[in-house]
């Protein structure tokens, strides 16, 4: 017992010794002692030598009050020679902070004078890091929990190794410079300026909001990006938009490293209200920016073109050489859509394409009219060309290079573009239907009426090309099923409710309880089940096709042949009455549903 007591007491004693050693012998004291010694040997002035002799190490700090929250910068505890020009050639931490004309330092009588005096600015205003710390790990911001590691000097242990080499370099400090030097062409911040230009040029502003710069609402607000995110995260978000959020629909812009760096530095400089402005400045800038400036005297088409650029429509859409890679091509909009369609679409994108993901923008009507006028003027049809070229020009963006319905924008289009490589589907539908779809488009979907840009022989050519190249069939050979052309079951409340009952029993697994095509199984099914509340589509489809699809299935899709599962023609008729009954345009034609 007594031995154990003695051992435990000994441990307490030892630990106390260690703790006292740890707490009383600091590395910074060694640095300071070294500084005093070296300075004494460098000094030619006996009074200064005597002063240095008398100096004992203690914590040095600069309290900075002029730049935002009060900062306590103890960096000079180790970097005690930062302002001593004699130490220019020494090694860190006892090294003079470089003087540079680019930073505004001036030479007077052979002595440099700093423009940014440490006594006013401290250190972390420009370098970031943690001013209160007294050891490298914490004060340089190597601690992964510290939100502001030293800009361009320190990378934290949990940062991605493949980005690390890009994240070092004095250029990153420009983000701090820009807190005061906010002029857009300030010579000292070339990367910030370039990043700002890229922010416009790459259409970032279409989706992202930065107070005083842009008003986008689709992506995250970046007003305080520089405060919230570390450069590692910013870099990752630009080069791999889905790294943090699987469902992000931000495009990968495939920028070069220099551009990414400029954007990261620009974003790092966005920290809400910066030192140079007041909250009132910010508000004024906001007011000015909300109204897009149309040069006076510009009207109609021209104004629309300007708006289209200002509102970054091409951040998603394609127009001429600009392609956002998310939404349909606008190049032939004047041919394929009319004014009414465009206006309705602007005011509510889902009014014409019920599953469109386009946001509803709340611009003034006047702006929508200008945009319509401009788009309506785009009436130049594509130059006549061979079928495969036409396919590349008009179809490939949605239906894909291989015709498999996986074009670059397909992911964002609902219903999905048709997969032509599904032979079962392509061979089981009459040729007429394909021709109609191409010429007249498919209402309620993103398939436009190409008949207004292509001549009949061109349409035939493209269709033949598709059948031969992708479906690998010569011609469709649909089976003739015995289905009625018109629904023989009279529309009545009884029929509709019978139809609803069958629908709820048989169809909701895929088409959903609301018949919107979003049933529990729908996610795993390609193409996704049809949205039966897409009234544009439902109104267009004839009874015959509905009977055929319900009773004999749709080849190449998950829709089974329900006649095999015991549905009769009458059942199908009831279902069709039910489907037509839940779609508003059908309602006006069918007296029973209007009550």
């Amino acid at each position: 017992m007594r031995l154990a007591l003695a051992i435990a007491s000994f441990v307490v004693l030892i630990v106390h010794g260690l703790v006292f050693h740890d707490q009383f012998f600091h590395r910074w004291e060694r640095h300071q002692t070294a500084y005093f010694e070296q300075a004494r040997s460098l000094s030619k002035n006996p009074r200064e030598r005597a002063e240095l002799e008398a100096r004992a190490p203690h914590i040095e700090q600069i309290i900075v009050t002029s730049f935002g929250d009060t900062r306590v910068d103890r960096c000079v505890t180790c970097h005690i020679a930062a302002d001593d020009p004699r130490f220019a050639g020494m090694a860190e931490p006892l090294k003079t902070h470089p003087y540079s004309a680019a930073l505004g330092d001036v030479q007077r009588n052979g002595h440099w004078e700093r423009r940014h005096k440490f006594s006013d600015f401290g250190c972390t205003v420009c370098h970031e890091g943690q001013g209160r710390g007294l050891d490298n790990f914490h004060s340089h911001g190597e601690d992964e929990f510290w939100p502001e590691p030293m800009l361009g000097y320190v990378t934290q242990a949990n940062w991605r190794k493949d980005f690390e080499p890009h994240l070092k370099g004095a250029a990153y400090m420009e983000a701090a410079c820009a807190q005061c030097h906010t002029q857009q062409d300030f010579a000292g911040t070339p990367h910030v300026n370039r990043g700002r230009k890229l922010f416009y040029a790459m259409n970032c502003y279409g989706c992202h909001k930065i107070d005083g710069i842009s008003e986008g609402t689709l992506g995250p607000d970046l007003t305080e990006a520089g405060k919230k995110f570390k450069i590692d995260y910013l870099w990752e978000s630009i080069v791999e938009p889905r790294a943090n959020l699987d469902t992000s629909f931000m495009p990968n812009f495939h920028l070069g490293n220099d551009d990414v760096e400029a954007l990261v530095i620009f974003l790092k400089s966005r920290r809400g209200v910066n030192f140079a402005e007041t909250t009132l400045d910010r508000y004024k800038a906001h007011i000015e920016n909300v109204a897009v400036v149309i040069p006076p005297g510009t009207a109609g088409e021209k104004a629309g073109e300007q708006l289209l650029a200002d509102r970054a429509c091409t951040a998603c859409h394609k127009l001429r050489d600009r392609d956002g890679g998310i939404a349909p091509d606008l190049s032939y909009e004047g041919l394929i859509r009319d004014d009414a369609w465009l206006m309705e679409h602007f005011k509510n994108p889902r009014s014409r394409i019920p599953d469109s993901i386009m946001p509803t923008f709340r611009f003034p009507d006047e702006d929508f009219e200008r945009l319509s006028a401009f788009l309506g003027s785009l009436k130049t049809p594509p130059a006549p060309a061979a079928a495969d070229v036409t396919y590349q020009q008009l179809c490939e963006r949605c239906h894909g290079e291989k015709g498999d319905g996986a074009g670059k924008v397909a992911w964002y289009i609902d219903p999905s573009p048709r997969d032509f490589t599904k032979q079962g589907f392509m061979s089981s539908k009459p040729r007429d239907r394909f021709v109609t779809s191409i010429k007249e488009g498919v209402p309620g979907t993103s398939m436009p009426p190409w008949g207004r840009t292509l001549k009949d022989d061109q349409v035939d050519g493209v269709l033949n090309y598709v059948l031969k190249t992708f479906a690998k069939i010569d011609a469709p050979s649909p089976k003739q099923h015995n289905v009625p052309d018109h629904n023989p079951v009279a529309t009545s409340d009884a029929s509709v409710s019978r139809g609803e009952k069958i629908f709820l029993e048989r169809c909701t697994g895929c088409h959903g309880r609301k018949a919107d095509g979003k049933g529990p199984n729908s996610l795993d099914i390609f193409p996704h089940p049809r949205n039966l509340r897409n009234h544009w589509f439902v109104a267009k489809v004839e009874d015959r096709r509905l009977f055929d699809s319900i009773l004999y299935g749709v080849q190449g899709t998950a829709m089974p042949s329900w006649i095999d599962y015991g549905l009769s023609k009458e059942d199908a008729g009831d279902i069709i009455n039910f489907i037509r009954g839940i779609n508003p345009s059908a309602r006006s034609e069918q007296p029973h549903a209007s009550n």
Binding site: L5, V19, Q23, R74, G133, P147
Partner: protein
Amino acid sequence: MSTAPDTTIWTTLKELPSNVWSSIFRNPLPNTDLERSSTSFTNFFLHIHPVKVHRNTLRPIYTLGLGLISLFLFLILVVTGVLLMFYYVPSTTQAYDRMLDLRGTVAFGIFLRNMHRWSAHGMVAMVFLHMCRVFLTGAYKKPREFNWVIGVLLLLVTLFLSFTGYLLPWDQLAYWAITVGTSIAAYAPLIGKQMQFVLLGDTTVGQEALLRFYVLHVAVLPAVLVLLAAIHFWRIRKDGGLSRPQPAEAAAKPMVYKKVVYGLQGFVRGPFTKVGNVPDDSVYSWPNLLLSELFVFVLTVSVILVVSLLFNAPLEQPVNVMHPPNPAKAPWYFLGLQEMVSYSAFWGGIGIPGLMVALLLGVPYLDRNPKGVGRWFAKERLLANTLFLTLVTLNVIFIIIGTFFRGPNWTFVSPF
């Protein structure tokens, strides 16, 4: 006595040290049993002890010293806590900066904080283990029922103390742990939301919450804990010392008879005082008990010191209300609750824990089987011990799952 003291200056000075000493300590180091009794009895700090204690009390394997360790951890917490209070400011704008100063600049700051942090975690664990010890040795049985109840209350106060302290560094860890913890409280029926509001002084964790938690942490709860602990210790003696097995045969040991007079002790005659025809199986507190206590104290202090030297208390980034970590986790001792909450908010957060506490409080009144006291895992208590261990194991498993196996969005992840 009759001779007047020699009052010459020289003698006065010469005898000054010994006079001061003997005025403070009435007894010299004891040599006889009478003096040993007297030492315990006349010293303010020592007279919390009985003059003699039963041998069973001193068996390390019986108590494992868990109660004492809890007490000593509390003392360490009070001392380090008071020192930390000199530097801490309960303000959302200053608290985190103060943490940085404590870590980087204040002499011994980081060490004090480490000791405080690890002692707090240790105290929660030790109080819990102490409860397990008391249950598994059947020590809560008559006449110690009420002391068990106080013990359960002490456990709750300890948990709450640790919980309130968790917020004070005002870093992400603190902020979101308290957000989660107080949200669990909000699931209580009827008064849940109000309770959360009273606790936070707001609908979210903010300046008001920080101030409230601070006051609770440094003033209210320690006071409550000291009071309850005082009653807890007092009751130990009034209930006849620590529990022990029934003596096997009555007459084997020497007896102490009524004729022996112990001064005031003679009046202290509950059913369990040793004055009477009870076999005397006890030893003098001085030095036996005292030495054991000293050993436990030094051991506790040395472990805490070593741990504090090796591991720094966590300090994450400053609070960012817009950026919850994913997952946001409560302090480890509430992770069992959070894990259960992920299955059912009400049952996991309020129902089951409430039931558990009620059960714990009621245990001595429900389990009235008088057998099996004073022995670990007594056969007569097979059912009770099994039930208890099952619940404890379940809770521990939930805590382990919550701590190590839960990733973003509370999905199951493997820590390996």
